[in-house]
């Protein structure tokens, strides 16, 4: 087993903070807002329709349902703004995805770790012409990076680029099959 350990100059390393990011499709915002509304209003309807006989709880049932519906509306507004801030970046050696409103998260997946890529979409996402790109690595227990909010054509282009990169990438010595 051979190993080289060339020293790196920290000043000359590519900077994650300077990675150019592209905003996701603006159609993701209404899509996310509708998803939130659907979830919370379903909960509100359930809260209203569940038969309760105990007087103090039953009296508050309607108000509880209205409260949940209002909370759902607030969550939908937040989801709208959060979706507008999402962005992704495809660099030569990695894929970045930034999301979050209150807590901002930037996920970076080195392309050499990529094992396979898949695209999927829910009926609501299809109605907005959006596709989700899911990236998996070798050691992960599930998807390692889920890139939401790409237009179908863009998602396909990114997927093809990643697949071409996977095929062109010579397997790392330790990953070479016999």
């Amino acid at each position: 087993m051979t190993h080289t350990n060339v020293p790196l100059d920290p000043e000359r390393l590519p900077r994650l903070e300077e990675a150019p990011l592209t905003p996701v499709s603006p159609r993701l915002a209404p899509c996310q807002a509708l998803q939130q509304l659907w979830r919370w209003w379903l909960l509100a309807v359930l809260a209203r329709l569940v038969p309760l006989s105990e007087p103090p709880v039953a009296d508050w049932q309607g108000r509880l349902a209205v409260g949940i519906a209002v909370l759902g509306l607030a969550m939908a507004v937040l989801a709208w703004f959060e979706a507008r801030r999402r962005a992704y970046g495809l660099r030569e050696h990695d894929l970045c995805y930034r999301r979050g409103l209150w807590v901002r998260r930037t996920q970076v997946l080195p392309l050499v770790r990529l094992q396979h890529v898949e695209t999927l979409s829910t009926p609501l996402e299809r109605a907005f012409g959006l596709v989700r790109l899911t990236c998996f690595t070798a050691g992960g227990r599930g998807a390692d990076l889920v890139l939401e909010g790409l237009p179908a054509a863009r998602a396909e282009a990114v997927k093809q680029h990643l697949l071409a990169r996977l095929e062109a990438e010579p397997a790392a010595p330790e990953e070479q099959a016999p």
Binding site: L16, T106, P110
Partner: protein
């Protein structure tokens, strides 16, 4: 091993399981079914109800019929199960109703396991299992093959893996070198300091209520009062000490059962461990697949200066400490001994840093955040407790909330400080070390290039204070470095990403 030599082991031809495998399959399936369903049948009385309903003779006849069907199915399973080596890939065909074929490339094997329970020894058969890069979930087992065949499989996989590796070894590999052998004293200390104590306590906890009931019913008749001390607190204290001593004894016995005669051998590009009192177990770790080494010290372990190493590979199953017992462990080590062992797990990578070398701490703001979180949780818990107690607290003096709150503040401050101090990281050369844990501590050591992906996370407060939380995703799971200065965290992230790319293109 040359190709001709490899052909001499007969593995190029289809091989079958040992005929004893039929009985072993029946027995293991029967034991597994009994373990899962017998308590339910006996405890709920369902078994008696069924036998009363259909009659004992009919129930026995039904059981006999089921046994015959199980025997026939086992025979069919045995006939369908075969395996052989095709070039450097192990091909396995099996399946009762659905025929399946598995191909395991030798270069993708990360661990093999050979197990021989006591009742298998006279028969000369073992259970052999192989784990690939897909992890434990995709491991494949040969349930009952002859010992010689298992040895040939190990040799063939080892030889093929060496050929597919980045370097070639000499024609004749050197004899395995013994790296570590556990002593009886170290085994006892491992039992006392391992997590078995807690696991055993959790397993036995359902027996507490029946035992309490039995003591309540029987104690007056047993005339044990004469033996018990007159003082109730002393009696309770002695009872607790006795329970703790019993748990410690069980934990030591569990360590002896699992790690008796533990030997770690260096077999070139593989490390082989053998252990077990009655249930002998041999694990072979392919070093090129090793991702993270973890140095674990429990609270008692830190007091007694003992710990153990856990070798993590791809695809470790969830399940925390219980699942950890199935991994490649090196038990009963002192920190100094662990430091001497770690370089042999990463051959060709140069000197790894000491597991106990000083670490860099995260920002002091994390301590304040922890303090506030803990204090809020404690005050909320206390409020809940007071709400539940209701009028029961009416008798307390009016000045009592003050000292209680002061105590909570002191406790939260102490815990927050200890937790902040326990968290640390260091990046030296191309190695990264991360330590966490309050009483028990875990130090993960890995080459920076073994990172799978990373996440930089910043809340509103963190953005204002210029700190970030760095989450590192590894084959063994996730490591978190909260509240690291933004400039430092981003420099570390950039360096890790460059290492991953650099190693892949090297």
């Amino acid at each position: 091993m040359t190709r001709d030599a490899a052909g001499e082991d007969g593995l190029a031809e289809w091989q079958r399981l040992s005929p004893w495998a039929i009985g072993l399959t029946l027995m293991t399936t029967g034991v597994s079914l009994a373990r899962e369903h017998l308590p339910l049948l006996l405890a709920a009385g369902a078994g008696l109800a069924v036998s009363d309903r259909v009659g004992l003779r009919e129930a026995l006849l039904g059981g006999g019929l089921l046994l015959v069907v199980a025997l026939l199915l086992s025979l069919l399973y045995y006939r369908r199960f075969r395996f052989r080596f095709d070039a450097d890939a192990l091909v396995i065909q099996k399946g009762l109703f659905v025929h399946r074929e598995f191909k395991v490339a030798a270069g993708h094997v990360q661990q093999t396991s050979v197990q021989q329970p006591a009742w298998m020894r006279p028969l000369g058969v073992v259970q052999w299992e192989v784990e690939t890069l897909a992890g434990e979930a995709a491991s494949i087992s040969l349930p009952g093959i002859r010992c010689e065949l298992a040895e040939a499989l190990e040799a063939r996989l080892g030889g093929a893996a060496s050929r597919s590796g980045p370097t070639t070894t000499a024609d004749e590999p050197p004899a395995p070198l013994e790296r570590f052998a556990i002593t009886p004293g170290a085994l006892v200390l491992h039992g006392l300091t391992s997590r078995s104590l807690m696991v055993i306590a959790a397993l036995l906890s359902p027996l507490v209520r029946p035992l309490e009931r039995w003591l309540h019913d029987r104690l007056p008749q047993l005339d044990l009062w004469a033996w018990l001390p007159a003082s109730p607190p002393l009696a309770v204290g002695l009872g607790l000490v006795a329970a703790l001593a019993a748990l410690m004894l069980l934990a030591v016995l569990a360590a002896w059962w699992r790690f008796h005669g533990y030997v770690l051998r260096d077999d070139g590009e593989r490390q082989v461990q053998m252990s077990g009192l009655l249930h002998r177990r041999s694990l072979t770790l392919t070093l090129r697949r090793l991702q993270v080494v973890e140095w674990v010290q429990t609270g008692p372990g830190r007091a007694l200066g003992r710990g153990y190493l856990v070798c993590h590979q791809f695809g470790a199953m969830a399940g925390g400490e219980v699942a950890e017992a199935r991994r490649f462990l090196v038990p009963g080590l002192t920190a100094a001994r662990a430091d001497t062992l770690v370089p042999s797990l990463w051959p060709g990578r140069g000197a790894s840093p000491s597991l106990t070398a000083p670490l860099q701490r995260v920002a002091g703001l994390y301590r304040r955040v922890l303090f506030l979180r803990l204090l809020l949780a404690m005050v909320a818990g206390l409020g809940l407790l007071a709400g539940v107690a209701g009028d029961g607290l009416a008798g307390l003096p009016a000045w009592s909330p003050g000292p209680v709150l002061m105590g909570l503040v002191a406790l939260a401050a102490g815990l927050a400080h200890l937790r902040w101090r326990s968290l640390g990281w260091a990046c030296r050369g191309d190695w990264l070390r991360v330590r966490h844990g309050l009483w028990g501590r875990r130090t993960s050591l890995f080459p920076a290039a073994h990172l799978l992906s990373l996440r930089v996370q910043q809340s509103w407060l963190q953005r204002r204070r210029g700190v970030v939380t760095l989450r590192l995703y590894l084959a063994s799971g996730r490591l978190s470095l909260p509240f690291v200065e933004e400039r430092v965290a981003l420099a570390l992230a950039n360096r890790l990403l460059a290492s991953v790319e650099g190693e892949a293109t090297a």
